[in-house]
Symmetry: C2
Subunit: 453 residues, 2 copies
């Protein structure tokens, strides 16, 4: 029977040239994260279905590839719902499996546990250009460390990685969920509406300050609260967002702009460093008691330690408009933005209550997920040349070569391989020119012909 040639809808085959880039990036990830003390772990791609539908995956829970029960457990004629038919599903992220893993193996794990996970996840999203239903995620998490040394080391690990991959002049946007809460409290939004307010604030990038005001009003919040909120996110801060260069220097009443920042246009205004510390301090003083103690100092420490110990060229920007989607974050949150890409290429944050809610024992946690697929795509688009790629040598054996010539050629090839080269020993084809062109296109720079003279 003929096979269906196309891969499963929304998934894709990866060609050798792209694999080379991907494997290079993965090797750099393993090496860099390992140097920061993260140890690699692995969980099965299939999770018990209940773990995926427990409400911790947000929208992703609607996108699960579910796995049919097998054997006697499957009773199709008696089934009325999906739950009657399935007992597992493909994981949609690496966080839920990590928490399960931690629960299952905590007795064998050190504290803090610094985990690195590289693995595929699956989401039955509507297929669209550049987004696939199977994709790699690369996460690092620190479980069991309450202090900000976890955030600092995590951010340094991932920025060092980006630097090694030749990404520079990117921006880390950083905020703290508790600052968002402080703002909502200060403005007078009702407690139970905080998450909804944050969802609207998160659209600042797209709909602007006027759009946010409109949505807040439409949602029925008190005009006074909305006005206070808009006052806080006045020009000074909004313009500090990515893509607009640093803030201009016009001052707003509630939020004096940071005088230390350079003015200027996109790119020209890019200066690596810590940005927005003055703004953070003045926001804290505006919020006063509405902000939990120590939150601003903690965030400032993260920003300044990261800035002063970094090994890549980037800026770390306090951005009070950063929300991040998942509601499980409890403390500092961060995201990497790259002009080259125009969007986030990774993000993470502290989620101190999630593990405890699952396991019953409180376990502080910070995690970061790099956008592996985007990073690999950007390198492909750049035509990135892998550093230290081995020399590629091909031997073409003529048909009439004797077995002893074959032996000699292979012995020579092995010698070159031991010296680090990639060597392919091949039969010479009738259309030798085409064969050599193809090899050249594959990167073989040294093609040797062997004849029986």
């Amino acid at each position: 029977m003929a096979l269906k040639k196309k891969p499963t809808t929304g998934m894709r085959d990866i060609l050798p040239a792209e694999m080379e880039i991907r494997e290079y990036v993965l090797a750099m990830i393993r090496q860099t994260y390992a140097s920061y003390g993260f140890t690699q772990i692995e969980t099965p791609c299939v999770e018990p279905i209940g773990n995926l539908t427990g409400g911790h995956g947000g929208e992703n829970e609607k996108l699960i590839f579910k796995i049919l029960k097998r054997g006697e457990k499957l009773r199709i004629d008696e089934a009325h719902e999906e739950t009657d038919l399935v007992d597992g599903g493909l994981r949609f992220d690496l966080t839920v499996p990590l928490v399960r893993y931690f629960a299952n193996n905590s007795a064998s794990l050190p504290s803090p546990f610094k985990a690195m996970q590289l693995g595929n996840v699956w989401r039955a999203d509507r297929p669209q250009r550049g987004r696939f239903r199977q994709f790699m995620q690369c996460d690092i998490d620190v479980l069991g460390e309450a202090s900000n040394i976890a955030e600092i080391e995590l951010i340094l690990a991932m920025t060092t990685l980006l630097g090694k991959l030749d990404f520079n002049r990117f921006t880390i946007r950083i905020n703290d969920r508790r600052i968002l809460k402080g703002i909502a409290k200060f403005c007078g939004f009702p407690d139970e509406s905080y998450d909804d307010v944050f969802i609207i604030l998160d659209k600042m990038d797209k709909i602007g300050i006027d759009g946010v005001r409109e949505e807040l009003m439409d949602a029925g919040y008190a005009a006074e609260a909305v006005d206070r909120c808009i006052g806080i996110f006045g020009d000074g801060i909004v313009k500090s967002g990515i893509g607009d260069g640093p803030a201009d220097t016009s001052e707003s009443e509630s939020m004096p702009a940071d005088k230390s920042e350079p003015t200027g246009q996109k790119d020209c205004g890019y200066v690596p460093g810590a940005v927005g510390l003055d703004r953070l301090r003045s926001l804290a003083s505006v919020l006063g008691d509405s902000l939990e103690e120590d939150v601003a100092r903690n965030l400032e420490e993260i920003i300044s330690v990261v800035d002063e110990t970094r090994s890549a060229e980037f800026r770390i920007l306090f951005d009070p408009t950063l929300v991040r989607g998942m509601s499980y974050y409890t403390g500092p949150i961060f995201e990497i933005a790259m002009d080259e890409y125009g969007g986030s290429v990774g993000g993470g944050g502290r989620y101190d209550t999630m593990v405890g809610r699952f396991l019953g024992t409180e376990t502080p946690a910070v995690g970061f997920s790099i956008g592996f697929e985007r990073i690999a795509m950007l390198l492909m688009e750049r035509g990135y040349k892998l550093p230290d790629a081995p020399e590629k040598v091909a031997f073409l054996l003529d048909k009439k070569c004797t077995p002893s010539q074959v032996k000699e050629t292979i012995a020579k090839a092995n010698e070159l391989r031991q010296g680090g080269a990639t060597v392919s020993v091949l039969r010479m084809k009738k259309n030798k020119k085409f064969q050599k062109d193809q090899l050249t296109a594959e990167g073989f720079t040294d093609i040797r012909e062997v004849f029986n003279d």
Copy 2:
């Protein structure tokens, strides 16, 4: 809601220490196979269900994890059979996906195409000790090369790999499907029964020559054919199987033992080299016209070239009792046996008609699959120490450390990281002794405490 802590039935979590070994083996596989000119590819873990149930997967087709249709396509109340419910499945091997991949992308691939695949496969096998329902496969295949240079380079690549992983004194059993056919023809078994006869012959290791005779008789074959067959697989050859050491020197009428082989017991009798060439030659002369032309010469060339160009210590043994399960093999077949393990740790062979049957265009092919899980398990059991493991340094920061001490410590850590060390910067715990013991158990040999004096 509480998570189910245990992984999906039959699957497992992998702890950091094991991951280290696995990643090391994978890195060696990538590096070694790449040096032989194999290029890595990847296919989705999910295949269209029809590709998995087309009859090419043998028994594995009964073990598929099937994936439920989604959205409107799923009509549970109208469903009566599994096929009404599913549209995909998790791949059970890497061969079916390779053939699909080749069909889908052949225009972008060189000829011959030397593919390397490292990926998980899934089989809903009955759970048993040491066998899991998700496991890694690592395959290399050469598509589009009819000559034995494909077998030779494939065998050299995988034996070089085993040597690098400190496996030596293993045995490659090698045979050719066409020799088995020649034997069946010579003995006078009916054409259509060849595969059944091979299945019985394959049990030689387990049930011995008398068991084979009995099963053949029970299956109703003519006594004359059975007698001729038993004559061929007389003592001389049967004892050449693995686990019994080399053959003894007693001669049988149809199959003179190879005088060049040493006698002796298991292990003591192990001599690296080519074994059984005389036996191959005499078997060929006994079979005469029953054997296709050039088969014996071709096999002898593979054996002798591999033997004389190998970079690891092993023997390559002509073993006419080797059958290999899958019926798609058409030419040379081979398997690696290790005394240490007592079973096969990998195998492969030529399958010249399979790709053509799928695609319509003839494409000769040879493949080899190494038993990754067994290799990793053997290394774990040996307590294998990874060569060139980086030094592991931990800094413990006392609670009272100032931000500038934190910065200094991290700067120092980064310096060590750039020098190749693994460094973890941690907060000092109240129970410092326990913390240090744990770090020592993790392999940290250099633990430095930082206080605010």
